[in-house]
Symmetry: C2
DNA sequence: CTGCAATAGGTGTATATACTCCCATTGCAG
DNA sequence: CTGCAATGGGAGTATATACACCTATTGCAG
């Protein structure tokens, strides 16, 4: 009875939101990583540096919330940045918390990476068209709020 | 000179396509994984089963191309599915190639997972609205073509 | 036929992601 | 003050992702 899926069902699955957003995500990520490569930063790492710079000092959980990322994922993603001494993670006032900050070196790396990020961003915006891009970002912002519904 | 980024620059970075699509990707993936959890399949694994079912038998490289995924990533993603005996990977005619197919068990798992995938898909489509969703998928399809430009 | 470039694929390594379970600290009910 | 739930965070485990480098097979120029 539960034999093979019909052609129609398989076609339906091609519109899977999860599949399509992950697929596009891989393609877009590749653009940024290519440009950022010479800085030694990955796309995600650039994002982390930006988010920390904009909010420092910030606790792990608060940062994870802003990133719509699991707390434990963030802990792991910070590891390489700590190793490269781009971020400092120290004990907070509430001794349960840890305060994340950019080091001087982290600010420097971020500043150096910015023009390369701009190139990647420009490439994607040019490719999509400015209006289309704005609309896409709107939809992505909507989607990220689906968590917890 | 390369000191801290200005408030304006940090604000600009908030529109990073890479950051935003990955963030939304995490949120959307969570919806599908929650629904698929009882099947023992991850979102990506469901996608893989669908793609294989629609194209079997198919070589690693051809499948990777359809998925806009690195060839070696696909090899690794197939590993857990092989272990669960949901897919068979055998030597192709051209002995350099490997032919990927669903096992009987794989077809069964896929058929059982389909209604749960439909629930997840419906949740996302309801959340976004049907027209918005169609438009989003269009944009994602455009984006995935940025690779290699 | 031989040598070699092209093709198909895997391994080592590193990061990204999140779940489950665990520990430390805090704050509050009693 | 004490006991305990709530909060903040890490470790173990498993999957997802891709780059650099390696091996095996094929096919073709000569």
């Amino acid at each position: 009875m539960p034999s093979k899926l019909s052609r129609k069902e398989l076609t339906q699955c091609a519109d899977c939101a999860c599949f399509n957003i992950r697929k596009a995500s891989r393609a877009v990520t590749a653009v940024y990583e290519e440009r950022l490569h010479e800085t030694g930063l990955r796309g995600t790492q650039f994002t982390l540096l930006v988010m920390i710079a904009a909010n420092e000092p910030i606790t792990i959980s608060h940062l994870a919330e802003k990133l719509v990322m699991d707390r434990t994922t963030l802990t792991r993603n910070l590891r390489p940045l700590e190793k490269q001494e781009l971020v400092d993670v120290v004990q907070g006032e509430d001794r349960r918390t840890r305060a994340v900050r950019l080091s001087k070196s982290g600010h420097k790396s971020l500043a150096e990476a910015l023009p390369l990020w701009k190139k990647a961003q420009k490439k994607v915006v040019s490719f999509m068209g400015e209006e289309q891009m704005t609309d896409l970002l709107d939809k992505l912002h909507t989607l990220e709020k689906i968590t917890g519904i």
